[in-house]
């Protein structure tokens, strides 16, 4: 049993798991690639989600309708199918695409739809009584939006957002299904080469994902403390 672990946890294997073939072939892979896709998708989907979420919370049909359409259609399709669309549709129109880009685009749009729902819910969660209090104090609508609604909404959203970010980090693992050298693919290769120790190999990959995602959650938890949150985002 210990033998198996020793065969899996070699420096060479760890190097491949962490950065792929970066040093011997100059191709980034492994955990580094996973993080690249994950963090870029998180950033992109937050921007998309914020815009679409505000549109969803609006009463104007022209804003609300397209936003709803986007959210509903992207939430009801498996991410894997979106990845295939992003990879195989552009060539039909003669557009060149890469595996990396298609995974990134699919993951960003997919996560964006979920984040839009979170943003909308966050905005709706700010109590009406609170708005009245702000109006009574003589704040203008814009001031109310900026200093009362959005900070509260964002704060209420944080736990849900953290959950979504972790899901999106986990979802990067689909990249291996179209042949990217991400953490899962490298792990699968090592498993195939060693043959007799799949338990150890896959537990190792699962452990790496676990540590990364727990780390991400811990960082986001810091923001859930109102004081550190205000210090970062709300200077009054």
């Amino acid at each position: 049993m210990m033998d198996n672990w020793a065969r899996v946890w070699t420096p060479a294997n760890w190097e491949r798991l962490l950065v792929g073939d970066l040093f011997n072939r100059g191709e980034i892979g492994g955990l580094a690639l996973t993080l690249c896709i994950g963090l870029l998708a998180i950033a992109g989907s937050t921007v998309i989600g914020a815009v679409v979420g505000i549109m969803r919370a609006s009463d104007r049909k022209a804003l609300n309708l397209p936003a709803t359409l986007y959210v509903q259609s992207f939430r009801n399709v498996p991410l894997l199918i979106l990845v295939f669309w992003a990879y195989f549709l552009p060539p039909v129109f003669g557009i060149q695409t890469s595996k990396f880009l298609s995974v990134l685009v699919a993951l960003t749009l997919f996560t964006g739809a979920y984040i839009a729902e979170i943003v909308q819910g966050g905005i709706r969660s700010v109590a009406a009584a609170n708005l009245e209090a702000a109006r009574v104090l003589g704040l203008t609508p814009r001031q109310i939006q900026f200093w009362v609604v959005l900070p509260q909404a964002f704060f209420n959203m944080l736990p849900a957002l953290a959950g979504r970010y972790v899901v999106s980090m986990k979802n990067t693992s689909l990249a291996f299904l179209i042949g990217l050298m991400d953490l899962t693919e490298i792990g699968k290769q090592i498993g195939a080469r060693l043959m007799t120790s799949p338990v150890e190999v896959y537990l190792t990959i699962l452990l790496i994902y676990f540590v990364v995602n727990r780390g991400l959650v811990m960082c986001l938890r810091l923001l859930e403390n109102r004081q550190s949150f205000n210090r970062l985002f709300l200077r009054i």
């Binding site: 939430r75 819910g121 849900a160 693992s173 699968k188």
Partner: protein
């Protein structure tokens, strides 16, 4: 671009249809098993029983923080090492890939159902359960007659969310060679080069499956509000559910 959906009448259509059957079967089996895991685990966590708490925590945190597709690979490649021999033999006779996919999806989504169940139970005011017990009702009686009927109303929307996630995750089973819809689409693309048409059809089919799950959820909600009359069932605080997400 020229698309020709008529090619789907014939072999590709049959393949997709057989894939759809496998997808539905996989989703149903995994759902049934995951719900059982979820109710048991969620209730155990809600009790806050010290002896089992660490065990539940590890299970749920593990599932929340690791990708389902890697768990799928783990079960597929290591099942013969970690499962008891009789279970493994049963699975092999059952169709090994399919069995591994059911176990992996049920194990993964069971953790999420557990959190949904726990959040639902937590949303029932504490006094309700105390009142039931003060009347002498046993634990299971209080749970069944008082806590669950009230919890289930707040539970349905996140339950539907998790179930659509489960349906969507069945597509991952192609990674271990289960012949479900996505797998069949890849086959059609590889051998007949009719990728876009097939992709369109299975996309629509997935949307329909997800909408059916949502519709069933709404039916259930309607049924519950009609037959349980829990009109003032307490809403989970805004922070607990935002955008239908369960919160860690």
């Amino acid at each position: 671009m020229n698309t020709d959906f008529s090619i789907l009448w014939g072999d590709p259509g049959t393949l997709i249809l057989s894939g759809l059957v496998v997808t539905v079967k996989l989703a149903l089996c995994a759902f049934a098993l995951a719900i059982i895991i979820g109710v048991v685990m969620g209730t155990l966590r809600w009790i806050g029983w010290r002896a089992v708490e660490p065990f539940c925590w590890v299970y749920i945190e593990f599932c929340r923080n690791t990708p389902p597709v890697v768990q799928l690979l783990f079960w597929y490649f290591s099942a013969s090492f970690v499962l008891p021999m009789p279970v493994f033999m049963f699975l092999r006779d059952f169709g090994y890939e399919f069995g591994a996919a059911v176990i992996a999806l049920a194990f993964y989504h069971g953790a999420f159902y557990a959190e949904v169940v726990r959040a639902g139970l937590n949303a029932v005011p504490k006094g309700q359960f105390e009142a039931a017990r003060a009347l002498g009702l046993g634990f299971l009686q209080s749970l069944r007659r008082v806590a669950f009927p009230q919890a289930i109303r707040v539970l349905v929307p996140p339950l539907v969310n998790e179930t659509t996630a489960l349906i969507k995750n069945t597509s991952l089973a192609m990674a271990i060679g289960v012949a479900e819809m996505t797998f069949q689409y890849r086959a059609i693309d590889n051998f007949m080069f009719r990728g876009i048409e097939a992709l369109t059809v299975i996309t629509v089919l997935y949307v329909i499956l997800c909408l059916i799950a949502a519709w069933l959820g709404r039916l259930m909600n309607g049924y519950l509000s009609k037959h349980l009359h829990a009109r003032n069932a307490t809403a989970i605080a805004d922070r607990q559910i935002v955008g239908g997400e369960i919160i860690r």
